[in-house]
């Protein structure tokens, strides 16, 4: 026999006959896996919440006591909330694309 032929075409291994018990064990594990949430898809909402909180914390809030002109008003609160949400969405998008 040509040694190169032996390297390129090694004899196939004998395959064991189909084993019903093996199949049953595999299918039992597959059925269990089918009822579990996929580990490949972890929830993303904690990151979204963390990003929004981080954005809120990073926003400079006016010091009401030192600057009386900046009294709390609904418009300012709405602006702060909008800025925080935009920042949170940007942070989240950055993380997902990384």
């Amino acid at each position: 026999m040509n040694p190169l032929d032996l390297i390129d075409h090694p004899p196939a291994d004998a395959e064991p006959a189909r084993n019903g018990a093996f199949s049953a064990q595999v299918m039992e594990r597959v059925r269990q896996a089918a009822h579990r949430p996929s580990p490949a898809a972890p929830a993303r909402w904690p990151w979204a919440v963390a990003a929004v909180v981080a954005a809120l914390l990073s926003c400079p809030l006016p010091d009401w006591e030192l600057d009386a002109d900046l009294a709390p008003d609904p418009l300012l609160a709405a602006e702060l909330l909008a800025i925080s949400l935009v920042a949170g969405i940007v942070l989240l998008a950055t993380r997902r694309s990384a």
């Binding site: 190169l4 390297i7 189909r18 093996f22 594990r29």
Partner: protein, 191 residues
């Protein structure tokens, strides 16, 4: 040939059924491929752990079925999953099962002439090849098994290994050169 085409078609149909929610259709894939998978794993990790790893390979395949690329055969995909599990298993245990097995199966003779006189030449070549394979790092041995014994085609193998066709050809050429050297023959340098 028609048998393989038919099997590939059946595989794709069963994968589609499982993805559509019919979990029990996966049993057909297990029945169809368990023999080859176990035989492949026996060669890589030895007989004791082969069935456990084959089970694990099927479960991993099921969990990753939505990422299966139907342009490649299911058989190749399963063999690659099983090979990765075998590599991790051997790395973990730091064992060289087949090294021991090959050594036991083919007692070493210091004098090749004596060995050839005692055995049929083809059997002797086979034992020398087994010993050379057993001495290889597990990743290289796995590459040999997938390419030559399981006959996975180059594009498929390159894709699953995450390397280019060219890089794969170079690796395979070096592997053949190494094995040819172990069998006492010389090859050219061109892949």
């Amino acid at each position: 040939m028609s048998h393989y085409i038919s099997t590939a078609d059946d595989d794709r149909r069963d994968v589609r059924r499982v993805l559509d929610g019919d979990v029990e259709a996966f049993a057909a894939l297990v029945d169809r491929h368990q023999g080859r998978l176990i035989a492949h794993l026996r060669r890589l990790v030895g007989p004791d752990d082969a069935e456990d790893l084959a089970q694990e390979a099927f479960v991993r395949a099921y969990q990753a079925l939505d990422r299966y690329d139907p342009t490649y055969p299911v058989r190749a995909w399963l063999l690659v999953i099983a090979s990765r599990l075998a590599t991790n298993h051997l790395d973990r245990n730091r064992q060289r099962c087949m090294s021991d097995t090959a050594t036991l199966a083919a007692p070493h003779h210091d004098d090749p002439a004596v060995a050839c006189a005692e055995r049929d030449a083809a059997t002797d070549l086979q034992h020398r090849l087994d010993r050379a394979l057993a001495a290889l790092p597990v990743e290289t041995r796995t590459l040999y098994e997938l390419r030559f014994r399981q006959e996975l085609d180059l594009p498929c193998l390159a894709r699953y290994l995450g390397i280019s066709n060219g890089a794969l050809k170079v690796r395979i050429h070096r592997l053949r050169q190494h094995l040819a050297g172990a069998l006492g023959i010389t090859m050219g340098d061109t892949p």
